[in-house]
């Protein structure tokens, strides 16, 4: 699974992009976020307030219950501020 981080999320995780292999029981967006917080203090801090996190799976906005799997591209980012 490919993970992408944008804006201040990238600063906190310390990486813009990484390949990860979560355990098989991680099957949804919400489970992925919970698993990510266990990967280190930077991740825990980045994901502290989930109201500030948006998730896209394969470049489409996703909800907490949406499925994620090994081949997916999952992006985490703060609310957008373009325009």
């Amino acid at each position: 699974m490919k993970l992408l981080y944008f804006a201040w999320l990238k600063t906190k995780t310390g990486v813009a992009e990484e390949d990860v292999s979560p355990p098989a029981e991680v099957t949804t967006v919400a489970e992925l976020l919970t698993w990510l917080t266990s990967r280190g203090p930077g991740y825990a801090e980045a994901l502290e307030d989930l109201s500030t996190i948006r998730v896209a799976v394969n470049q489409v906005y996703a909800r907490p219950g949406d499925p994620v799997g090994p081949g997916d591209e999952v992006a985490l980012f703060p609310p957008v501020t373009g325009g």
């Binding site: 470049q59 489409v60 992006a75 957008v80 501020t81 373009g82």
Partner: protein, 156 residues
């Protein structure tokens, strides 16, 4: 049409290219967003626009398609710049053309409202206190919410 680019754009040339020769157009609405030199009380030296390549284009195309479903548009264009921009620089162009002015106006406003809450761009401002990521504004969510009544698949 959708373009994401570091380069500036020429509003007059874009209008001409998109609408020239189409005599069904009665009204043309344009919005241009510019970099201001102040954010609240604080001076801004410049800003950098980050985005999510791939998703940005998809999301803009989806928003544009939604506008075409809702209003009878003869033409539409969204250009959004990325990279470093200084006060006075153009950030975004939204252009809509229709036989009737209200459709052009509504579609233009819809596009910029939705773009501001859905398209994956993030602004980082350069201030005296260092770089700072801009926070999303509630008022932008409210502006986008005006259009939500017919948006069954909104993710937020």
């Amino acid at each position: 049409m959708i373009r994401v680019q570091p380069e500036d754009f020429d509003v007059g040339a874009e209008i001409a290219a998109l609408t020239g020769g189409n005599h069904r157009i009665g009204g043309l609405a344009v919005f241009v967003g510019l970099v201001r030199d102040m954010a609240g009380e604080e001076a801004i030296g410049a800003m950098t626009l980050e985005h999510y390549p791939g998703m940005t284009e998809k999301e803009l195309a989806r928003i544009e398609e939604e506008a075409k479903q809702r209003w009878p548009l003869e033409a539409s264009l969204i250009i959004h710049r990325i990279g470093r921009l200084e006060p006075g620089d153009r950030i975004v162009l939204v252009l809509t053309a229709s036989a009737h002015r209200q459709a052009a106006f509504d579609a233009c406003q819809f596009l910029i409202d939705w773009l501001k809450t859905k398209a994956p761009f993030w602004k980082q401002e350069e201030t005296a206190g260092g770089p700072r990521w801009v926070e999303a504004r509630d008022s932008d969510g409210e502006a986008a919410g005006r259009w939500r009544k017919r948006d069954p698949d909104a993710a937020e």
